[in-house]
């Protein structure tokens, strides 16, 4: 009797999480999958099993271009975030001596993230706009005659905003792994004759890989799923997969949006899978 009770209590303890996961993860994705096979017209959806929605996605040049564009953003933003994030974390972890200072600077890094994404994006407009601060300054200095058009409502602006929004997601996990590197390893490397660059390449980077992988997963999922930044910072001139889905939803084409979402989900999962193949992050979790 007691044995049955103790087994039941184990299941009971696991129940809340199971319910939450079922309700908020399995159920929505299942519905997405089901709806993606449905038929629809201007006013309603019809339960069905057709491949038409997927057909439309796969056989349209526009979707291919948009997927390509999203991947391009993803790659560039990832590379920039990795570069900036790595060096910020490196500075915090290895050059700032006292723990208090480290924590203080780290908190300062996170302060911008206390405001909303949209506000942080909008705040670029007065700076980058056609008659914005930057253009005016450059013109007054006589460096340029015409305002620089590429600064706002362009790919440049999208990438800038994304890097601004997402770099911290790279800094945090990398900083976290770097702080766990035993400092005596660095001394041991120096004892073995390694110079600063060799220590970085042979000791610090290999040991920071799990943090880089976790940060990369954050960036990939955030950029691939983004639609607000792309729409806003490109002034509607560029599209991402997210914005296609959002448009289709606006037109009440839910099954089509669902098909796109399923394809996007698969692509992101493949990318995350590829990252995890290269780096074992288990010990960081």
């Amino acid at each position: 009797m007691t044995r049955i009770l103790s087994r039941a209590s184990a299941y009971l303890q696991a129940l809340p999480l199971t319910v939450i996961l079922l309700f908020f993860l399995v159920l929505p994705i299942g519905m997405l999958l089901v709806v993606s096979f449905w038929d629809y017209d201007f006013i309603r959806m019809y339960p069905d099993f057709i491949w038409l929605n997927y057909d439309e996605v796969v056989n349209s040049a526009v979707t291919w271009r948009v997927y390509g564009n999203t991947l391009k953003y993803c790659l560039i933003v990832w590379a920039l975030c990795l570069f900036i994030g790595f060096w910020v974390a490196y500075f915090l972890a290895f050059h700032v001596r006292t723990l208090t200072m480290q924590m203080a600077l780290f908190l300062i890094c996170t302060v911008p993230f206390l405001t909303s994404n949209v506000i942080r994006m909008i705040s670029w407009v007065p700076l980058l706009g056609r008659n914005g601060l930057l253009n005016q300054t450059l013109q007054n200095m006589g460096l340029i005659d015409e305002p620089l058009e590429f600064l706002l409502f362009s790919d440049f602006a999208v990438i800038l905003a994304m890097v601004h929004l997402f770099t911290l997601f790279m800094v945090v996990p990398i900083f976290n792994t770097m702080m766990r590197i035993d400092r005596s390893l660095i001394e041991a490397a120096r004892d073995g004759g390694a110079n600063g660059l060799q220590i970085l390449w042979n000791v610090i980077i290999p040991l920071t890989k799990p943090g880089i992988a976790i940060g990369s997963i954050f960036i990939v999922t955030l950029v691939m799923g983004d639609f607000v930044t792309t729409r806003f910072m490109s002034g509607g001139q560029s599209a991402s997969v997210g914005s296609i889905i959002s448009n289709q939803m606006g037109l009440l084409q839910y099954p089509s949006a669902a098909a796109n979402a399923v394809i996007l989900l698969i692509i992101v999962l493949v990318m995350v899978g590829a990252i995890l193949r290269f780096v074992n992050i288990r010990k960081e979790l």
């Binding site: 073995g192 004759g193 060799q198 042979n202």
Partner: protein, 361 residues
Amino acid sequence: MSKPADVELISVTKRYGGTTAVDRITLRIKAGTYCCLLGPSGCGKTSTLRMIAGHETATEGDIRLGGAVVTDLPPARRGTSMMFQNYALFPHLTLVDNVAFSLKMRGEPKAERRRKALEMLELMQMSAYADRRPAQLSGGQQQRVALARALITGPQALLLDEPLSALDPFLKIKMRQELKRLQLDLGISFIHVTHSQEEAMALADLVVVMNEGRIEQAAPPREIFDRPATPFVAKFMGDHNVIAGRLGPDGRSVEIPDGASFAMPAADAAPAPGAPAAIAVRADRIRIGDGGEPGFGFTGLVGIVEYRGQRVQVGVTAPGIDDFSILLPEASFFGAPLKRGDAVPVHWQPSDVHVLGATPA
């Protein structure tokens, strides 16, 4: 392997901000010596070792290795090699890559450095594990790999920072013997930091007892144990009874605060009566019973009795004397057992009195 070399510290000082960790120490360690830096934590022994290694810079003074001044050289160019307390093996590299690390940094070709690293692992009897990672090894195995990594550069002196502290007692003794054998085979100096006097006595040719950033005594272990220079050394090495007080009017006795007086041989340079003075008597030289000459014994109460196997340690207290203990052979203790609270007379031979000096300033 390069030639063994002398290590010399000349008035070396290390200050961290306002605190002095190492205070003007001067020490010469001859080539091929097994030297133990011994002392309680915070005595400056690790700072001293790290200055020799080049992982700390000396605030003042010079460090010489084989005649060359290495005070300002980076660690890898000093001809020393360090084995770290927790071994500091690179967790992401296989053993062979760990051992070959310094060769890789020097830019040796891959096949060559792998061959040398395997040879070194062979010497440490670890070649069977060459392609494993450090996390898959036991503490003793990790230590052998750390040794292999430290020795592959052919150092003139090997520096070991508490190498045995992470091991369990049995392994500690085994690895201790391996260290000693290795040092004898290689013929280079090992400088070994430890806080265990037992370890230092078992291993060292030269024991350097440190306290508060200074060297209290540097001598072979037998001399350290038999003729400790200062009360600190006598107490730290253990099995000594230190009787401290003031020099009596005749210059041949120590008067403890409570009025009792113990005889001692006259000091060479006669300090003024009333100056601080201390004597030490080895705990195993003390006899129980009457029959001592005056000034070479007292009567006290038995305190704690500890059974140690071959010996039994009996604590004795008397007014002005605490922390006094006697080591009795097991047979003689159990022939006439004592228990807590018994009053016993104790005495020792005049030749067993050892005069302690003051701590060097």
